[in-house]
Symmetry: C2
Subunit: 333 residues, 2 copies
């Protein structure tokens, strides 16, 4: 199997990306095709003593930055490392694409270069987030600001397939982000999506209120991209806030620093649980080929996990499953 990686996307590229690629070659026996400036990448690999066995470099003209407009990936920067990687995937030069670059550009670029399964205009961004006893997949995390009810049903199907195939959750519980438990709650979109989800073949557990999200109310949380992005970023923000608060408590004086030592195992267990990079990145669900958005601040370990996730995505043939649910989804709706 061959995984294509964006050599220049993210805060820690190319250094950590190269190390992540090396770890992935070693651990999963895959080949890696990295996109970027050959000279530069080879120089960094040499400097950091990262052997390039099993790693090939595909020339690209620099990176798309976080400040670039997403559409630049198709226009002024159509030879950037992300665009070159997406085209390589479209041409079959690899089985999946991983990038830690500009999320908006990945949505725009993959939609145009890879294409969506029938019935979706854009892929859904599907981050995997921690809850008290495990994790859940959120779709859509922000790619589709305006959604139709049928799209939310499809988000449910795609998320359920991922959680079952990749994270081995049998019969995943699908919930709808809403502002009350009752069927008639929420916007017209939420009410219509409720009806579709209820009558589908999914294990629909009904509406999930904000308060219940962190407590594992469902394995797949369905929302329009606006609501989903608010949820995604607020959970990230509250997690950061929480981390800072705990840190602040411990660094007050010698006594509290001693207390921190005592609590170290618990703190590290908690940190690991909250570390979403353990699950890899956020797949862009609904594309005709596997594309994984790694977190912008991915380190080598996070890049490695994103490759592991891409490998599983390919092996389990998630996309064929998604395409297979299309008629079912339509007839059920």
């Amino acid at each position: 199997m061959r995984i294509i990686m964006d050599g220049l996307g993210g805060d820690n590229a190319p250094d950590e990306m190269l190390e992540g690629a090396r770890l992935a070659v070693k651990e999963y026996g895959v080949e890696i095709l990295i996109t970027g400036e050959k000279e530069k990448l080879r120089a960094v690999a040499y400097e950091k003593s990262v052997p390039l066995d099993g790693i090939e470099i595909l020339e690209a003209d620099g990176a798309l930055t976080m400040d670039d407009a997403p559409t630049e990936v198709l226009r002024g920067k159509k030879n950037c490392s992300m665009a070159v990687g997406l085209r390589a995937l479209a041409e079959g030069r690899g089985d999946a694409f991983v990038s830690a670059g500009n999320t908006g550009a990945m949505v725009v670029g993959s939609r145009s270069i890879i294409g969506c399964v029938d019935g979706l205009r854009r892929p859904a961004l599907a981050p995997i987030l921690p809850h008290t006893t495990g994790c859940f997949m959120l779709l859509d995390g922000g790619a589709n600001v305006e959604c139709r009810p049928e799209m939310l049903l499809q988000f449910g199907h795609m998320g359920a397939i991922y959680m079952e195939k990749i994270l081995s959750i049998q019969s995943p519980r699908v919930g709808l982000a809403n502002i009350g438990a009752e069927e008639h709650k929420g916007t017209q979109l939420a009410q219509d999506a409720y009806a579709l989800l209820k009558n589908s073949s999914l294990r629909f557990v009904g509406n999930v209120e904000g308060r219940d999200i962190p407590f594992g109310a469902c394995d797949v949380l369905v929302a329009d991209g606006f609501t989903g992005n608010i949820i995604l970023k607020l959970m990230e923000g509250m997690g950061l806030f929480m981390g800072q608060t705990i840190k602040g408590m411990f660094t007050r004086n010698m006594l509290t620093m001693g207390a921190a030592l005592v609590l170290k195992p618990a703190l590290e267990g908690f940190k690991k649980k909250m570390d979403y990079t353990e699950y890899g990145g956020a797949p862009l669900m609904g594309l005709k080929k596997p594309v994984i958005k790694a977190h912008g601040s991915s380190n080598a370990h996070a890049f490695q996990n994103a490759v592991r996730q891409a490998v599983a995505f390919v092996k389990e043939d998630v996309i064929a499953e998604i395409e297979g649910t299309r008629p079912q989804a339509s007839s059920a709706g």
Copy 2:
């Protein structure tokens, strides 16, 4: 001044409510008019040794429960403690109304019995939430699921008036909950509201993403009621999650319990900061008279704070200010 209190609303009524009323009479020199079953309330007051000086009871037929449909406050339970309280406020038998009861019923009941200022169909639920360095007001926390852009502008004005008058924040920063910093981000509603807010007399600080909400990005956060309710409840849920996680760390063994003792001052400071009842309840903004929704699990201290808040609301004549911004809001928009 006379504050009307719902004697039977909330998880801890009437016991804690009565004690809160007593504390309010003592601390703020107000009179309290409590609605509920006279015999029952007097018996509880006697049993708990709560003197009823300065407290009058207005007969009502029991409570509206959390399971009752909100519209019951106007129909089958139109003589419940909440409905009687709202009518007493409408009739001028008191200056403000405080209840810890069913939020939906308070919105429906106050809209019908008290009425909204021109331009609003329903009041906005306006909870005050903690951030790293203080607090902010969120409007709308869930009363208006579908909003027009003009409503979001008015939420901004109402919130700014509250934060300036009641919490003494000079020139409050008003932000719009959105999924990106740029003007063109988000739904059509968000884009249109952005334009209105930008051209208003408010100190508009632009879009606020979920990640920045806990870090004090603004003093007033404007959102439609669907988005606002997701934010409100997710913050509550993440706060609970955080509390449980910290508690779990400390109760592992004797050593960690020792560490908890060392960290006690920091923990209590944090707990106090996160305790939204310090700011009182959530005003229903946009009504013709002051109505405060106290948290459902309010204890005596929270009820006392809600009365303090109601007193400030009346003294500062927040509603006249809100009515005064109407033409300004229209011309600015």
